[in-house]
Amino acid sequence: MRKVTRWHVLLAVFVAALCVPASGVSAGSGLPTKIGKGEGKLNLIAWEGYTQGQWVKPFQKKTGCIVHAKYAGSSDEMVTLMRQGGGSQYDGVSASGDASLRLIYGHDVQAVNPKLIPDYKNFIPALKSPPHNTIKGVHYGISLQWGPNTLLWNTKKVKPAPTSWSAIYSKAYKGRITIPDNPIQIADAALYLSKAKPSLGIKDPYELNSTQFNAAISLLKKQKPLIKKYWALASDEIGLFKSGDAVIGASWPYQTNTLKADKVPVKDTIPKEGATGWADTWMMSAHAKHPNCMYKWMAWISTPKVQAQQAIFFGETPANTKACTWMNKLSPGSASLYHCGASKKYFNSIKFWKTPIANCGNGQNNCMDYTKWQQAWTEMKG
């Protein structure tokens, strides 16, 4: 039998989704119009740091919904957890763009009514109905926070300051480079190639045909001997920079801030080729047992102060524009540090994570789907 891969899944559901209204999900129909009484409990899957006591405790006090959070280490893990035990285990998930579409097309999450989230109207326009959580006007979640993947370096050891992603493919820092251990990192290689080798014709780093894909993989294979460690966890990279085991790498702003707070001489930048990034969404399970608490949670997490707290804690940008003043109140200067209320141009310069599918967006189906990315990543690391 022919091997059945996920792109068949995605392709099939994608096609099915295009033929929607028939499948029963249409805007406005069947959505709740007010939030009922809380069920007293809320089970969440979250990125670590997304359910900190400083904003979970007041929420529990206010709503009586006791939060149980399970931390997931990757988007893949989030999808797996959401499907576990028929999908009724968890009420919600803080999905990034590379998980959200998989969850929507897998019917793992349900449509939500943004009118029940008072702060929704204050969101930056780009995150009101972004393509990673809104399909044909149907909202499958409430945007949360976003941020870029940056180039991080030790200012004492790396001179002059790098301006291009070429620095992490350069022999100059052999054995002192670190990049994330995540198949989606192939997109970073592709983004670099799109500028370094225009002949490949890479337009979108998540839509790669086999030639483009192989070029990215062979770049990563060449990079492998230069790598100290593929970091699986943010703390891995922080540790590597603190100890001096790594001096340059692909990073999140969170690491930069943590390192700076600990007086490690580091800086980060968005190199000239641009950057990939994440935009997270709180989504509600299709089989949520505590939907009212989940609505209350989405409303709470969208309020300016909580948005600001989380943005500062994790080092990312809130969706709610009203959060910026709160950020400066809580930690002076943090609003501009994390680009709060950033321009549309800055937002658009980031290539947000999305799930690679076979459909290249141009009517052709010759792109490499995410299963291929996962396999290639495992085999590249060896």
Partner: protein, 292 residues
């Protein structure tokens, strides 16, 4: 009441099989239903694939997963790395443990033996994760090891985030699992055997090789089951302390579970399963189970 109890006891005394059945059936049934059934189901699922529409397992028999494992060169090196490091850890632990076991069994007095016991048992009981994590701190570029080496004028070791680090940490963590059975085996060798060997003119090395080692081998093998198997099935130490080329079978299995590719994960998990199956059968033949 009392007569009833006597009659009851009497029944089981006459029908011993009934008592045996009563005692053995609940644990073995529970065990078979929960554990063995899961194991068999897992093995069977490695011959299945994932349904394209529902992501559910499709029960159509094929060996595609194994074919992919066989063809992908990366999976071979991952398997060899895992088995190789597990073997290296076992050897290192045996070398570290044997003299200590000997000391505890034959040289130490009551007090120092008790001390050594606690010294071996306590690390075993402290958290596995914390022990991995502290080693990461020690082996860091700026860690205790390099600091010490620098103080005594030696060059930095820089083995953090390499396969050497993974090997060292596994050796550390599983060492007590080797010490205890080796000690048990050494303690059971009667003094008179060693005396006899010496009286017959054997030197220390010959006595070790011809008398002590054969008698204690089951203990060493019993210990090796743990050091080898625990290393073989781990993925957290390579994740936390490994470098760019430290993927273990466990890491690939874990990633594939997260990728919803359970059948493929099951197929790769069959490798350590098969290795351990063979290992256990050999261990049993060598009498290690008596020494456990």
């Amino acid at each position: 009441m009392r007569t009833a109890r006597v009659r009851f006891t009497g029944f089981f005394w006459r029908h011993r099989w009934a008592k045996a059945l009563l005692l053995l059936a609940p644990p073995l049934l529970a065990f078979a239903l929960v554990y063995l059934a899961s194991l068999v189901a897992l093995f069977l699922s490695s011959f299945w694939t994932v349904d394209p529409f529902t992501s559910e397992i499709r029960h159509a028999w094929n060996i595609d997963n194994y074919r992919q494992l066989w063809q992908g060169g990366a999976y071979h090196s991952i398997a060899f790395r895992t088995i190789g490091i597990a073997a290296a850890v076992t050897v290192a632990d045996a070398i570290l443990a044997f003299p200590l076991g000997y000391f505890m069994a034959r040289i130490a007095g009551g007090r120092s033996r008790a001390f050594a016991f606690v010294a071996v048992l306590l690390p075993l009981w402290s958290s596995y994760l914390i022990r991995v994590y502290i080693w990461r701190l020690i082996l860091d570029h700026n860690g205790v090891l390099n600091w010490t080496l620098q103080k005594i004028g030696l060059p930095a070791a820089n083995i953090g985030y390499t396969n050497w680090a993974v090997w060292l940490i596994f050796t550390y963590i599983w060492l007590p699992f080797m010490i205890l059975p080796v000690y048990g085996a050494l303690e059971r060798v009667p003094d008179s055997f060693l005396e006899a060997s010496r009286d017959l003119g054997a030197g220390g090395w010959t006595t070790f090789r011809r008398v002590l080692l054969p008698l204690t081998l089951p203990g060493v093998i019993a210990g090796s089951i743990f050091t080898f198997s625990l290393t073989l099935g781990d993925y957290i130490t390579p994740l936390l302390a490994g470098g760019a080329s430290s993927q273990f079978i466990g890491n690939v299995v874990y990633d594939n579970i997260n990728n919803q590719l359970t059948p493929f994960a099951a197929a790769f998990a069959a490798v350590p399963l098969a290795v351990m199956g063979v290992y256990l059968l050999i261990a049993r033949r060598l009498g290690a189970f008596e020494a456990l």
